[in-house]
């Protein structure tokens, strides 16, 4: 009896702690937010006030653990360089920028945790991130309620931005474009009519796979199978045997690097798929993909949502990156330029709305900042000239398609090629 009681008590305490962690911050946030709507303008809620000597804190949700840790770190590095550049140029009226990096783990639950952390911290002005779409879906409702605008460098699921969310922005291109371009490439350029579609059940991978599937069907192609796996799986043989039984001409995978690489590799061991073409997406446009696939990577296709790079600016960025981290930016992942632009874009909007009050404090009005991001027009970034539209799509550039040749990505089609 006492033992049972003890267990029950332990359980209850754990539950309490958990619920406290999850539920408390937004609950604490709501009253102050409502108050800000009603109170007179003299009230300082709804505004971020930074005392002289303080920093302008920008939150960052990066996928530092989870399925794509290297690209997550790469994105964090891009943001850090942007902060260095901003501060090197003197900051804003003597106030320096600061990045508050958190691990969003490429996961919705962790995205929610990070969002709650930011929402509970009144000094957070804006957020860059999240890295993955699922993670960003975790951030959206919390940041929307806390009135903290965010710009994601790499979340590509079409539903990240919507007319209902005024804090949601991204500099990455939507997968609506990537899925359509990929389908067009597979059917028109490669001339295939029967493809299998596989996804990793993440918001990103499954979303992209569905867009690809519907585009293929619309263009008169046949989708022979639509199979899901899990992020973190390593044995795809049973799934591939089934895909192979239908004899597709190509396999399309919506998901991340490691799974993509292992699928490409295990396809070579699957009857019916040994010679079948394989195509994956921007989540697999990494060195990790090449490493996981090994020799099987040769000849496979990967698409990427690329920016319209300006060469001098990128050369300058690359040099700073190599100097600071000792590796080439492309070694870890593809989205560093978007990440840099995301932070610079946020900073540009902050600079447009921030004012210094009589006591020397920097005052940033949250609502003004939210609309300032949307009105960014002709901002010169690493990924091209950025202009945000009314739902927060700030991406520049287009979709590129690469084929792996001799262990490197070689562009074969798409944006930037004649």
């Amino acid at each position: 009896m006492p033992k049972k009681l003890r267990i029950a008590a332990l359980f209850a305490v754990t539950l309490l702690l958990l619920s406290a962690c999850v539920a408390a911050p937004p609950a604490a946030e709501t009253p102050s937010e409502e108050a800000s709507m009603e109170e007179a303008p003299a009230d300082m809620s709804g505004k971020v006030v930074i005392a002289s000597g303080g920093t302008i804190r920008i939150g960052g949700s990066f996928a530092l653990t989870g399925p794509i840790p290297d690209p997550g770190l790469n994105i964090r590095h891009g943001a850090e360089i942007a902060i260095d550049d901003l501060n090197g140029a003197g900051g804003l009226e003597g106030f320096m920028f600061e990045l508050v990096a958190e691990d969003g783990a490429c996961d919705g639950t962790q995205g929610t945790n990070v969002g709650n952390k930011f929402a509970a911290d009144e000094t957070i002005v804006a957020v860059t991130g999240g890295t993955c779409s699922g993670e960003t879906f975790g951030l959206v409702p919390i940041l929307q309620e806390a009135r903290i605008p965010f710009v994601s460098p790499s979340a590509t699921n079409p539903d990240i931005t919507s007319p209902d969310c005024d804090v949601c922005n991204r500099v990455a291109l939507s997968d609506a474009l990537q899925g359509a371009t990929d389908a067009d490439f597979v059917m028109s350029d490669l001339g295939f009519t029967k493809v299998a579609v596989v996804h990793d059940n993440s918001d990103y991978g499954k979303g992209l796979a569905e867009i690809f599937q519907s585009n293929v069907t619309d263009m008169g192609g046949e989708v022979s199978s639509f199979e899901g796996v899990q992020v973190g799986d390593t044995d795809f043989r049973a799934m591939l045997a089934r895909v192979g039984a239908d004899g597709p001409q190509a396999v399309f995978f919506g998901g991340y690097s490691t799974e993509a690489g292992l699928i490409a590799q295990q396809m070579t061991e699957t009857p019916g798929l040994e010679e079948t073409a394989f195509m994956s997406v921007d989540g697999a446009y990494t060195q990790q993909y090449l490493e996981a696939a090994g020799d099987a990577a040769e000849g496979t296709y990967v698409s990427f949502v690329a920016g319209a790079d300006s060469e001098e600016m990128n050369a300058d960025f690359d040099a700073k990156y190599v100097e600071k981290y000792g590796v080439s930016p492309d070694d870890l992942g593809p989205f560093h330029s978007q990440s840099y632009d995301s932070v610079k874009l946020i900073a540009a909007a902050i600079m447009a709305v921030a004012t210094v009050d009589d006591s020397g404090n920097l005052v940033i009005d949250r609502e003004e900042l939210i609309s300032a991001i949307r009105s960014v027009d002709a901002f010169e970034g690493l990924t091209g000239t950025i202009k945000c539209d009314s739902i927060g799509e700030c991406g520049a550039g287009g979709v590129q398609i690469f084929q792996v040749a001799e262990g490197a990505f070689d562009q074969v089609s798409g944006f930037g090629m004649e």
Binding site: T65, P69, D70, E227, G228, A238, L262
Partner: protein, 357 residues
Amino acid sequence: MAPSRLTAQAAGVNGKTALRFLLRAFGAAILVLVIWRVTTVGLAEGYPASFWISQALNGLVLGGVYALVALGYTLVYGILFMINFAHGEVMMIGGIAGFFALQFSQSRGWLEGPWPVVVVALLLIMLFGMAASVLIGITLERLAYRPLRQAPRLVPLISAIGASLFLQYSVLLIFGVSPHSYRKPALISGGMRMGDVFIPYTGAIIFITSILLMLALYFIIQRTKLGRAMRAVAEDRATASLMGVDVNAVIVITFMLGSALAGAAGVMLGFHNTVVKFNSGFVPGLKAFTAAVLGGIGNIPGAMFGALILGLIEAIGPSALGIPTEYKDVIAFTLLVLILIFRPTGLFGEVLSEKKA
């Protein structure tokens, strides 16, 4: 007073029969559903025989890995009546250690040499992985379980879960969060083709090695003095100690055996699936635990057959039932729940020990 108690008792009995009847009906309904799906959907797809053979072979390979890990669960349970939930991590550490041994061998060029050199190098890599797992296994026993041996049974279980997380995140911090990719040497890349059936060499090696290791374990337990001591400790720890068996030594050796098998599984799985990272022991660990329960935890042949059955069901199940392959884990864990409801002692019952508390 007395009559009311009688009726209450009768109601209790009635309730129990009703519950048992409900459970039976539930089981029968699932069985009917499965048969219906298999005949109307699975077989109607018209997959060729070679497809089923391929899937069965995939399942046997998976089963071989599960078996090696499941034996660790079962051995420890047989002797200590505790579930060593950190066992999946012991396997993962074998895989990580194997990765570094492989890198070392590659840097020395041992894997490009003539085939006997490569075979010896591969064996050394596996031994290194096993040694690392053994080291972790006995450390776990010494630090996480031995101090709690007299504690209530729930306490070592919690300690095991803590140890599991500790090991995962230690590996994450030390070796990073990115997956480590095994580069297969040419000798074991590819596989053999028989008609439309493809058998990867690594798969064949896993299956054969796991059978050999299981036979070796069975021999140790049934035919050696050490095995007799292990069985004695499993039967009754206090009496065995009175008969002059060094109980602590036997427990340590049990952990060593289980960990060595898990380490071998970790290295072979690394070669087969080519990536290892900090959490790659978690799901296989749970599956192996399911396999051990399926066969009857504490029972050694039970763990072997339970694992092979689980592997086969996971590989063939989704196609046979005509459902997406992503539900393979659902099938595995549904099976665990069903076994726990209908046959808590597993398919083969609990043979090793009669002193289950």
